[in-house]
Amino acid sequence: MPIKIILEKCSGCSLCVKACPFNAIRILDKKAVIDLNKCNLCGACVSACKFKAILLEKTTTLASTINLDEYQGIWVFAEQKNSIIQPVVWELLAKARELSQKLKTQVSAVLIGNRVKEKAKELIHYGADKVYLVENEKLTNFLDEPYTEILVRLIRKYKPEIFLCGATSIGRALVSRIAVKLYTGLTADCTGLDIDLEKRLLLQTRPAFGGNIMATIITPSYRPQMATVRHKVFSALPKDINRQGQIIEENPLEKELKSRSQILEIVEEVSATVNLAEADIIVSGGRGLCSKENFAVIEDLAKVLNAAVGASRAAVDSGWMPYSHQVGQTGKTVAPKIYFACGISGQIQHLVGMQSSKIIVAINKDPEAPIFKVATYGIVGDLFAVIPALTKKFKEILKR
């Protein structure tokens, strides 16, 4: 097996037992013993051991034969919809700049679309040194296959060491496909990025098990190191119209434009005009709202605050709100600046979808509701009295 305990070094301190997320280690006769039927080779024990007594090694030579030194620079996928660059791209460019200073390398954006050249300049204003621009009528909207084929070719040609993409519905589908085709590592939905300068590696931190644990992941021997990054965890740089950069136009190949899937229609639902993932403030309602009509109080508050409307699973399953508004395990994961949980008790399935919000405001009549355990501010009271009063108050403050 690729994991083993070096008995001479093991002190039986049981730090590894505590670190194991799979309960696979016990101490027997003052030495750690790994139950290989439970072990998932995740490596948590290796980093926890202070005596370097646990070895985790690959048992064959790697499939990778690439020369790591050939790979230079950080790329950001500049996702556009209707020729509008998605806000997460600005956040990624800012983070990429910070990482590039540590690595002493350049930041490039890749923009694919149709007649989006003006937007390429904007990417430079927000932090890109170079923009690779690919334009074609058939690339107006995202399609899995053409976008994948083009990016795979450009990555092979220019060899970036890091490739970042927003953890959007497009991003997560696209880069999963690219990483497989390139045979490289991809870490989903990161909330932290840093550089291990000594090894020149990207440290990618992400929540797992619904945010109950965090894992830091590396891609040591394959390139590029790819990650999708959650919205709102990094801040964009201010726009600098004097920033200079280079735009490199790349023509798509005819065969790359072939797609076995085609978009027949794009439907924008009015109720989803404020994108939950991009919203700074979300006002969510749950079972405590009691009816569809009562969601009006939530919508009024959201309107004043320019916020998006969210809902718990209970509210969605009751038919009070469409599924696209659902926050939680089987809905969306959000992390706005302020999250209002109104009449939501705070079951774990809901908490995993919103507990990384900066400020959580809970309004609930039950003082024992678990939502108060994660709340930054809480009001125990009748939401039908509290929320309209709050709406009125914010109207005064914001003069809206």
């Binding site: 505590k18 899995d144 497989v180 098990f209 899937s261 085609q262 599924y323 809905g331 774990i348």
Partner: protein
């Protein structure tokens, strides 16, 4: 129509608790379930079979006990189950997992449609579904909320986006990942439960699939976990008590600088 559903056995999240002394996950005695999103994939496959006839096969990669998840899918009405299991699969990341599953699917050989849940509730990556379609070089549609029609080698589906949805036409064979909105999974029938109990489940090892040991498990995984830690607990919050006007005043004051 031949439909393959890929599922994963996961711990039931509601029961994942943190040991306050050691700050680690307590997994002992945690019930295992089929990943909630995969339930919609199973249901959709059964519905498509009911509508268009054909065969449904469920496939999972996991430890021997993942057999329970397969039996549960059979009880709902899936025709056949395959468990891809081998010690050498341990430590697989999404690249190695999607490679292994894609090779098992090639061994099944005849398929029109592969359906996966949008993501698994333990890993939350949403990478294995698209990874499988990339390995197989077939088209994919992610976040499918409705399958409108399957006809003459094409399917038209609705793909959920941040702003609404897109109607997409795609040629078969292809892979879909599905979201909750697509259906409401059925409960197993008594007959289904009996059949599932007696059903023979195929078990395939790395050797059965003729896999390259460089591409599976820890060996084949480009990513590597270097550290696992518990996130900092949220600081103790402030609960306001009293008359509505008073508490609203206090809350508005506290939020003022964030909102203005």
């Amino acid at each position: 129509m031949n439909i393959i559903v890929c599922i994963k056995q996961v711990p039931e999240t509601t029961e994942v608790k943190i040991n306050p002394q050691t700050n680690t996950l307590i997994r002992e005695g945690v019930k295992s379930i089929i990943n909630p999103f995969d339930m919609y994939a199973i249901e959709e496959a059964i519905r498509l079979k009911e509508k268009y006839t054909g065969k449904t096969t469920v496939i999972t990669m996991g430890p021997p006990q993942a057999e329970e998840a397969i039996r549960e899918a059979l009880a709902m009405g899936i025709d056949e189950g395959i468990l891809v299991t081998d010690r050498s699969f341990a430590g697989s990341d999404t690249w190695a997992t999607s490679y292994t599953l894609s090779q098992a699917i090639l061994k099944i050989s005849v398929f029109d449609l592969i359906i996966c849940g949008k993501q698994a509730s333990d890993g939350d990556t949403a990478q294995v579904g698209p990874g499988i379609s990339a390995h197989l070089d077939i088209p994919q549609v992610t976040y499918v909320k409705r399958i409108r029609e399957v006809n003459q080698g094409f399917a038209s589906v609705e793909r959920m986006t941040e702003e609404g949805y897109e109607v997409i036409s795609v040629s078969l064979p292809c892979l879909f990942t599905v979201v909750k909105e697509i259906n409401e999974p059925r409960l197993p029938s008594l007959r289904g439960l009996l059949r599932a109990k007696q059903a023979k489940i195929l078990k395939w090892s790395a050797k059965d699939l003729g896999l390259d040991e460089k591409k599976i498990g820890l060996n084949g995984s480009p990513t590597q976990v270097v550290k696992i830690f518990t996130p900092a607990a949220r600081p103790q919050g402030m609960i306001f008590h009293g008359e509505t006007a008073e508490v609203v005043e206090k809350l508005a004051e506290a939020l003022k600088k964030e909102i203005v």
